[in-house]
């Protein structure tokens, strides 16, 4: 008699338990760096970069799907697998690169916090240290699970971008057309255009996401059998994130680019994208959203970096350990927060610029992480019958190739001035 109600309850719980990591990861993806990058892309290039959204989304879905599949099949984190298959030296180099890149992202999250309070005239010298302390305490004191729900619900703010985008009366036809048409080749000789494509890709498909998502899947104990639900979670999350990104670009193109305001220097500039929706309240809306996104990502990035590095290098890790048991883990975690926040306190730091540049670094590291993901996921000994299909491989290797080509092209474009 107890069995009957239990079955549907377990099923429901199963769906709820599995719908999560993919959606959360995709949401955290629209962090300070993401909002800044999409805003700058819209303001600077209008609708002309919208064509990148569809290929980037496809690539995002594919990459995230691979990470979660790998987590479900092997039950191990990405850095564990890289260590086991490619040895210590490769892992060490990759972890150094990941720490540097993620450190850039952490700086950008604190820059987001500073930038959002700047709108109210509150000094970053007060806000950033407080935010750093809050982040550190939330995670170390284990209240993260509750806080995650708060952040996640607050992510509903992204809908405001969609509404604002609609109210700004963008040129729908132009926006839609530039989303689906081939870009003009002239742009590719332009350094700014190239680096913005890499930055857009780097912010949407950030390297940390692969480590974080795979770790979350393992942590949740998602198995191969429950994997189908997980795939839906990943796809829904990615598509939602992409739609929001599209509307941020469109909102900024319609409100900023159209009036000739091409450069976003501060949060105040970016906040104008909300003017059609909120009028004079635009600042408040933007600040609240940016603050939420920044703090959400700031509480995930340092801890996930510390986990990835310690696991890959075989150092003791985990919040269930005491400080003396896992010193490297806690030191790395704390240092990332302290120094990340400290950098933002440098006087006259161009906050918005910092947020965008950190995403460019993401884009440069991304192909290397993807190469490892692809080598691992096609390893039959590891994945059994869950390796990639052929077209999947074609698309993913193509993405890697394009990313590397773009990076090389950007470097060439820069050296030529």
């Amino acid at each position: 008699m107890k069995f009957l109600p239990r079955t549907w309850r377990t099923r429901l719980l199963l769906v709820l338990a599995v719908v999560g990591p993919g959606f959360i990861t995709a949401n955290v993806d629209n962090d300070a760096g993401g909002i800044a990058t999409y805003s700058v892309a819209g303001a600077q290039f209008g609708y002309s970069l919208l064509w990148t959204m569809i290929p980037i989304t496809i690539a995002l879905v594919i990459v995230q799907e691979m990470s979660s599949r790998m987590g479900a099949v092997t039950g191990k984190g990405l850095s564990d697998l890289i260590r086991e298959e490619f040895g210590l030296r490769v892992t060490f180099l990759l972890m150094v690169a990941l720490v540097i890149t993620n450190f850039g992202n952490i700086i950008s999250e604190f820059a987001g916090v500073a930038s959002s309070f700047e709108l109210f005239g509150i000094s970053k010298y007060i806000v950033v240290p407080v935010a750093a302390l809050v982040v550190w305490a939330i995670v170390v004191h284990g209240t993260y699970a509750i806080v995650e729900k708060v952040f996640l619900s607050a992510s509903a703010f992204y809908v405001a971008y969609i509404v604002s985008g609609v109210l700004a009366h963008p040129d729908w036809k132009a926006a839609a057309l530039s989303t689906v048409t081939r870009p003009e080749s002239a742009g590719f000789r332009n350094y700014g255009y190239l680096s913005m494509i890499i930055t857009l890709t780097g912010t949407t498909i950030a390297p940390w996401m692969q480590f974080y998502l795979q770790a979350s899947i393992v942590e949740k104990g998602v198995t191969v059998k429950q994997y189908k639900a997980s795939r839906i979670d990943v796809i829904v999350g990615c598509v939602f994130a992409a739609v929001v990104a599209w509307f941020i670009v469109v909102a900024c193109a319609a409100t900023l680019h159209s009036i000739g305001k091409y450069n976003i220097e501060t949060g105040a500039d970016a906040a104008q994208a909300f003017h059609p929706l909120a009028g004079d309240w635009a600042y408040l809306l933007f600040a609240a959203g940016l603050f939420n996104a920044s703090l959400f990502a700031a509480s995930i990035l340092p801890i996930s970096t510390a986990y990835a590095v310690c696991e890959g290098l075989g150092l003791e890790s985990g919040l269930d350990k005491r400080f003396e048991e896992a010193p490297a883990f806690y030191w790395l975690y704390s240092a990332l927060i302290v120094f990340g926040a400290a950098v933002v306190l440098v006087p006259r730091l161009p906050l918005f610029h910092v947020m965008v540049v950190s995403q460019l670094v993401n884009g440069i590291l991304l192909p290397f992480v993807l190469i490892f993901v692809l080598l691992l996921i096609n390893d039959r000994e590891l994945m059994g019958s869950y390796t990639n299909s052929r077209w999947y491989n074609v698309v993913s290797w193509f993405t890697v190739g394009i990313m590397i080509a773009l990076t090389v092209a950007m470097i060439i474009a820069q050296t030529r001035g």
């Binding site: 260590r83 290098l313 075989g314």
Partner: protein, 411 residues
């Protein structure tokens, strides 16, 4: 006798008897069926394919390797399940450190070389899990070897002696061939085993639970997180799962089966011995968060007419949990509960005294009592065990204090 690190040996140039370089060391192989620690051969990558350099013809081993025989005498290497390849199976992999009771990652492997007659014997002595091994490997080929050695000597080693290492192998056939039995692990306290198991990947957990003794497996399972517990039991073969569940306390077994999907729990119940199955199914009937859902049916009860000596005999024959031993229950006609005697009284009374004479007032509750009320009773009366009695006054089971602690901590 000297120590040589696996990372030094790998990639070392190999010269044969004529003194010409024939290739480089690619792998170091141990055949556990022949000898648990001794290196059986080196795999050398030569211009002529991969060759096995037997230890009998090894002259020196280190950053350079010399053989006593000619390369043409080295047999071609054929992969086999029965050999442990130190680079592939050990280096960078996770192992169980039985002594330190945790899962660690191998940075390097220390081999001991001993001259014997005209050749060398190499034995695996320990695995390096500390900074020394890591730095040695990271700086190999980048820093001159004498500088490196001087540097490494300053770093305190963190090594695990080979006898305390339990390898993780997910392929059952290979586990047998490599003689991996998790003997070290099984000797630990079940709570420690549970901590270790929670750090492993699902396939590795399954490997541990397929291999270790059923009784140890059952006790470990009780200590695990509910989610992990369910995942492990569902991954196991039904026969094996039933064997383990039979060894669990009936209340824990019922909790576990209640958490499983119906098809799984049904199949496991079917494989269980009739007696255990009946106990567990009875418990499954009750709601999880009631007294009946938390109780165990393994308790000590004797007829009310029995004497102290009978109680001692019952204690000796009792196979249930130690916590249930604290109280001996007295039953009247029709299984009705009539009294309870604490263990202390049994120990301090003479063998011929009637148990009913030393019986104390007891506390009992109904099967559908909610668990927070159960906890309140334990608190109020400072109980060690609590009797659960049905509407006819019959003893249905008992709840022990440890169950209440678990209940309070996990909600």
């Amino acid at each position: 006798m000297s120590l040589v690190a696996l990372s030094e040996l790998l990639g070392a140039t190999v010269r044969d008897a004529t003194g010409t370089v024939r290739g480089r060391v690619r792998e170091v192989a141990v055949a556990p069926q022949d000898h648990p620690t001794r290196v059986a051969f080196l795999i050398v990558r030569t211009a002529d394919g991969e060759r096995m350099l037997p230890l009998e013809s090894l002259r020196s081993a280190g950053a350079a390797v010399r053989a006593a025989t000619d390369a043409s005498n080295w047999e071609e290497f054929a992969p086999s399940d029965g050999v442990l390849l130190l680079k592939r199976d050990l280096l960078d992999q996770q192992i169980i450190d039985v002594h330190g009771r945790k899962v660690v990652r191998v940075n390097d492997v220390d081999l001991e070389s001993t001259p014997l007659n005209s050749h060398l014997i190499l034995n695996v002595v320990s695995v390096d899990v500390g900074a020394r091994g890591a730095i040695r490997r990271l700086s190999k080929g980048l820093v001159p070897s004498f500088t490196l050695r001087a540097l490494l000597e300053r770093i305190p080693p963190r090594v695990i002696p080979w006898q305390y290492v339990d390898l993780l192998e997910t392929d059952p056939a290979r586990r047998v061939k490599l003689k991996i039995a998790y003997e070290g692990l099984a000797k630990l306290h079940p709570a420690d085993i549970a901590d270790i198991v929670e750090d492993l990947a699902p396939a590795e957990r399954e490997a541990v639970f397929e291999t270790i003794d059923e009784e140890v497996a059952a006790e470990t399972l009780e200590e695990l997180d509910p989610d992990v517990k369910v995942a492990i039991v569902e991954s196991l073969d039904k026969d094996r799962a039933a064997d383990i569940v039979e060894e669990m306390d009936p209340d824990a077994a019922a909790d576990l089966l209640g958490d499983l999907q119906e098809e799984h729990s049904g199949q496991i119940l079917k494989e269980m011995e009739p007696e255990e199955r009946q106990e567990v199914t009875q418990l499954l009937e009750f709601g999880e968060h009631t007294a009946a859902g938390r109780m165990t049916t393994e308790y000590i009860a004797v007829p009310e007419t029995a004497v102290v000596d009978d109680a001692i005999e019952a204690l000796k024959a009792f196979e249930g949990s130690r916590e249930a031993l604290a109280t001996i229950y007295l039953l009247g006609p029709g299984h009705k509960l009539t009294g309870a005697v604490p263990l202390v009284k049994i120990a301090t009374s003479s063998p011929a005294i009637q148990l009913s004479e030393i019986s104390e007032p007891y506390v009992a509750c109904a099967p559908d009592t909610p668990e927070d009320e159960v906890a309140a009773l334990f608190d109020k009366y400072n109980l060690i065990t609590l009797a659960v009695v049905d509407e006819h006054g019959r003893l249905a089971g008992i709840i022990t204090a440890d169950d209440v602690i678990t209940m309070l901590r996990h909600g």
